[in-house]
């Protein structure tokens, strides 16, 4: 471990130097993760505590970002909302990308009719806009965080599978795979030792890129009332309460949650872009 960490640190420093935008994104994400992890320590109020003496209060020393229609502290809800966003975002994009890798490699390695069959199925899933598919799934299954994660995972699977399949097809033709075959390596060894490590770059890039999209999807579905259910703090839900009807009474309610969504998606996209440039510049997402 001791011999490993200096190189690891060195490549981190190099990444920060060469790709300042990506590093900035990474820093924002780090702050977000810390804020989410320490939400219970930082938050000045309980995010679920209603206070009918303080409805629609503008930002003040007691309520930093004001309160909503139930008198709940917006700042505390924002912090806990980061937990929801990160949890849903990470679970959905990790599951989607991981299942996509399995399907993509299987498809490329098996070839022939299996490949053709899997491709047709993926075509079916790719012929919906992401939000339409997610919305249909969540509407059928009902709201709640687990269903929401499932609904966001599904559209990510074929998109990863596509990209991984095309990378794996190229790798399969490589001389070292032929060599492995000819010395009698079993398929499992070829897949795990030769193919899998070589598709890690596109996997990582897709994972980061999905992260932002997943947060955006979670917010959109929650905003429509089909995602995270009240009273769980979620950014999209906070905006739901703050539509035009609230505009005249509490404009600040419409600002901060949207800013939090944008900032976090922005950060993940910056990081994803730089990772792509560094790891796999020809990949187009």
């Amino acid at each position: 471990m001791n011999s490993l960490s200096p190189t690891w640190l060195a490549s981190l420093v190099r990444f920060i130097r060469r790709r300042p935008l990506g590093a900035a994104g990474g820093a924002i994400i780090l702050v977000m993760i810390i804020a989410a992890a320490l939400a219970s320590v930082i938050a000045p109020h309980d995010p679920l505590e209603t206070n009918y003496a303080a409805l629609f209060k503008p930002p003040s020393p007691e309520f930093w970002l004001g309160t909503d229609g139930f008198g709940r502290d917006a700042f505390s809800r924002l912090l806990y909302g980061a937990r929801t966003a990160l949890f849903v975002g990470f679970s959905a994009s990790f599951l989607g990308a991981a299942i996509g890798v399995v399907i993509g490699i299987t498809s490329a390695y098996a070839g022939g009719n299996i490949d053709l069959f899997i491709e047709r199925i993926m075509d079916v899933f790719l012929s919906f806009p992401i939000i339409v598919l997610a919305l249909a799934i969540v509407a059928v299954l009902g709201g709640g965080i687990v269903n929401l994660i499932f609904a966001i995972t599904i559209p990510f699977i074929p998109r990863t599978a596509r990209v991984i399949r095309s990378s794996a097809l190229v790798i399969r033709q490589m001389p070292y795979v032929d060599a492995a075959h000819s010395i009698g390596s079993p398929d499992a060894r070829i897949i795990f030792r030769h193919i899998l490590p070589n598709v890690m770059a596109p996997f990582l890039v897709m994972l980061t890129a999905f992260q932002g999209q997943a947060i955006l999807l979670e917010a959109s579905l929650s905003f429509l009332g089909l995602g995270v259910a009240e009273p769980t703090p979620a950014w999209g839900l906070m905006l739901r309460g703050a539509a035009v009807t609230f505009a005249e009474r509490a404009p600040w309610m419409g600002f901060f949650p949207g800013f939090a969504i944008s900032l976090s998606v922005f950060a993940f996209n910056l990081l994803g872009d730089s990772l792509r440039d560094a790891l796999d510049p020809r990949l187009r997402l």
């Binding site: 047709r120 012929s127 939000i131 799934i137 905003f223 429509l224 905006l239 998606v265 996209n269």
Partner: protein
């Protein structure tokens, strides 16, 4: 070429059939149908008989395969069925909203093209300068800002600064252009900004690739004016993937604006979809999903054909 077009058109059939099966089953795996939902709202007791009757009326008591067959057989006769909730033909429900969705999609596309191609090219030409960074930040921000939040901000700003709200009821462009545009310009901007962000990034990255090509150097070496090098040798070769992105986004806009339409209170296809889905209106949801995915697949196909038109080197067999 004709053979290629025919093959592609035929290949759409299994995909669309897959979509149909998927959405059909998805809607029916979970208990609770439209009849139950309709009576759940009324607190009075409803006898089982009434529920059964209603179900029979909607054909929900038949076995699944028969329901599916009736649906598909109808589509083959261009009969998409009637909405279970409103009782009107699905083609009618779509038709009355199509003008709005189509107009919004076209306005957003126009805004996106006007913004993205010059910005993307500029960013590529000035790579790694502050111009490039500014354009990249502008476009990544466009991807990050949910269009519903952008919509909320716009409405808030107008309300606070000018005490003005966009009109609520949709007026056709042909009836009253001013009223129509004053309602549509905000959603078009909110959507168009995001759309332009996608296209700007694509333009930039393909331009960067093209600029490293030998023929660019040759063109400069033989003294072609810079403007001409960029426009004719560069942009024309870089535009292909941008066309794809623009086409795909356009297809998406026709059916996927579920959230934006909600914010601006626009009664378009996206809004209809949300209503259909939340009311468990099987027939309407099925019809819309099939429609949206058909448009998606079809636009993909048109883009591929456009490719061989824009780049004569590409020939399909």
């Amino acid at each position: 070429m004709q053979k290629y077009i025919l093959t592609r058109l035929l290949l759409m059939i299994p995909t669309l059939l897959g979509v149909a099966i998927l959405i059909f089953l998805l809607l029916r795996v979970i208990p609770g149908d439209i009849v139950e939902l309709r009576y759940a709202g009324t607190s009075s007791y409803v006898p089982q008989e009434t529920i059964d009757q209603e179900r029979a009326l909607l054909g929900l008591n038949k076995p699944l395969w028969e329901q599916f067959w009736n649906w598909i057989a109808g589509i083959l006769r261009f009969d998409f069925g009637t909405s279970m909730w409103t009782g009107r033909a699905i083609t009618y429900e779509v038709a009355i909203r199509l003008e709005l969705s189509l107009q919004l999609a076209m306005m957003a596309t126009l805004i996106a093209v006007i913004l993205s191609i010059p910005l993307g090219t500029l960013a590529a030409l000035k790579q790694d300068t502050w111009v490039d960074y500014a354009i990249r930040i502008f476009s990544i921000a466009g991807l990050a800002m949910p269009s519903f939040w952008l919509g909320i901000l716009m409405i808030l700003a107008l309300l606070i600064l000018f005490q003005w709200l966009p009109p609520i009821l949709f007026t056709s462009l042909w009836v009253d252009p001013v009223k129509n545009l004053s309602q549509m310009i905000l959603p078009a901007l909110a959507v168009g900004y995001r759309y332009s962000a996608v296209a700007t990034r694509m333009t930039r990255s393909t331009m960067l690739e093209v600029m490293r090509e030998d023929y660019m150097r040759t063109a400069r070496a033989k003294g072609v004016r810079e403007r001409f090098v960029v426009m004719r040798h560069g942009l024309q070769n870089a535009i292909l993937p941008v066309v794809t992105v623009i086409g795909l986004e356009f297809a998406f806009l026709l059916g996927g604006l579920v959230v934006t339409e909600q914010v601006f209170n626009l009664n378009g296809i996206g809004q209809l979809f949300v209503q259909a889905v939340t009311r468990r209106d099987y027939t309407l949801t099925q019809g819309l999903v099939l429609l949206v995915s058909f448009v998606f697949i079809f636009v993909n196909f048109v883009i591929d054909l456009l490719y061989s038109f824009l780049d004569p080197r590409i020939r399909y067999q």
